[in-house]
């Protein structure tokens, strides 16, 4: 599905990703962990084409997509739930979902997204900037699903949410995984991250410093305290 080979990404002179190699297979959930500022968001930006890598290669469904514009990647089946939600504030909830629909066809329709997030249906005619943080997060996920992706990139979807809503996001993640979606997930909530992950990579200063299965990480106190600040 997705392959990164020796990806180096810069902001101007600042060399943030320093040779990332990883893969996400069909129906696989891969989770990226790491402290703040280690390059997790930059990794997502490199994949979706916001900040294309300067060196290395990103391939998606067999195509070299390293320098593709984002809208082309989305048309090919990639979608992003960005950190901080980034819903379109001046659009209504329904418009936010509508603009992401692109004749690709598939399982996700407006009706199904509203079924997954009934709250969005109740607020369909509200402007997105009037939503609560939790509702905005649902909208950001729903918007990504409207593009009918095969690979979903999710950057800290539970950031700043109350525990109840964190569980709600966990439920949705589980459901998407059961549907067979491939997911590349950045998540700070360790228990949630480990509950859905098939594979975990730990990012530190732009490099992958440890890769393992979720079970192994649960018991590896040394890695947890060294790279995640978990006691």
């Amino acid at each position: 599905m997705l392959e990164l080979a020796d990806v180096h990404t810069y902001y101007g002179e600042s060399h943030v990703l320093q040779g990332i190699t990883l893969g996400v297979g069909p129906s696989e959930v891969v989770t990226i962990l790491g402290r703040n500022g280690m390059g997790k968001t930059t990794l997502m930006r490199s994949v979706i084409g916001f900040t294309p890598p300067r060196r290395g290669r990103v391939s998606f469904k067999g195509d070299d997509v390293t320098r593709w514009p984002s809208f082309r990647l989305v048309a090919r089946g990639m979608a992003l739930v960005p950190q901080g939600r980034r819903v379109f504030p001046s659009l209504t909830v329904k418009e936010n979902l509508d603009v992401a629909r692109h004749g690709r066809g598939g399982r996700w329709t407006l009706a199904r997204v509203l079924e997954l997030f009934p709250r969005l249906g109740e607020r369909a005619r509200n402007r997105a900037n009037n939503l609560s943080g939790g509702e905005q997060q649902m909208l950001a996920i729903g918007r990504a699903l409207m593009t009918n992706p095969d690979l979903l990139l999710m950057d800290e979807p539970t950031e700043g949410l109350a525990p109840l809503l964190v569980r709600e996001v966990g439920r949705v993640l589980g459901e998407l995984k059961r549907e067979g979606l491939s997911i590349l997930l950045v998540e700070q909530n360790l228990s949630l991250a480990l509950s859905v992950a098939d594979r975990v990579h730990i990012l530190s200063r732009g490099q992958i410093v440890h890769s393992c299965g979720p079970g192994e990480l649960r018991s590896n106190e040394e890695v947890k305290s060294r790279y995640l600040g978990v006691a």
Partner: protein, 286 residues
Amino acid sequence: MSGEFWITQAFNGLSYGALLFLLASGLSLIFGVMRIVNMAHGSYFMLGGYVGLSVVWRTGSFAAALLAGALALALVGVGMERFFLRRLPGQTLGQALMTIGFALIFQDLALLIWGGDPYSIPVPATLQGVLTAGALRFPVYRIFIVVVAVVIGAALWLILDRTRVGAMLRAAVDDREMAQGVGIHVPRISFAVFALGAALAALGGVIGAGFLGVYPGADFEVLPYAFVVVIVGGLGSLPGAMVGSLLVGLLDNFGKALFPELSYFTLFAPMALILALKPTGLFGRA
């Protein structure tokens, strides 16, 4: 001062505001979608007027002049966007300098082709009369300008507010990067907005040539007005361009009528005041 004075000046301000709206709505949308400060926007207005003039000389048709002016400048605008501005993505200053370069080139080209004399576009007889109501006199041509602006403003509003394409455009104004990230083909929208903005400015130029005339320097004369409209109304906002145009049209007219020696002051002082109170303009968002 009599009631007639106020009504007449308000009407003149309204019709000038209507003309400004044709000019400024495109400028605002172009900035909103592309973050380009288009210093050549006044050139579209002037060149539209000149192209219209040539077409009227050839064909005698005012309608053909409107159409030809709008189409010709849509092509010019699209060419600028596609082959030049798009090469400097995200470089606000570079793009602004480039549009200044274009404006200067257009100025010289116009001088070369149409010479330095001022001209006026002959308007059709049906638009020439004056409607009177008691002591009040309303030139039909100015009513025509208001009608054109209202029709175009309503059409733009319907498209922007009620259609999916309009929502896509607003999404690109809100967050250009994320719009691409949900699959919106933003370059195509930029292309369309540049074509539309240039065409509307040119339409304003042809119409404006019917009562202001067309002459060298018209480009840089209208440009500050368009910028005041956009800044007061809020960058990238269509309702902002509507309200801003009306406000600037009225202020300019009353300013010139009441305090002719202070006309720039009466225009720019309220602008400074609005910006001090609401830095994003009346309808703009941070």
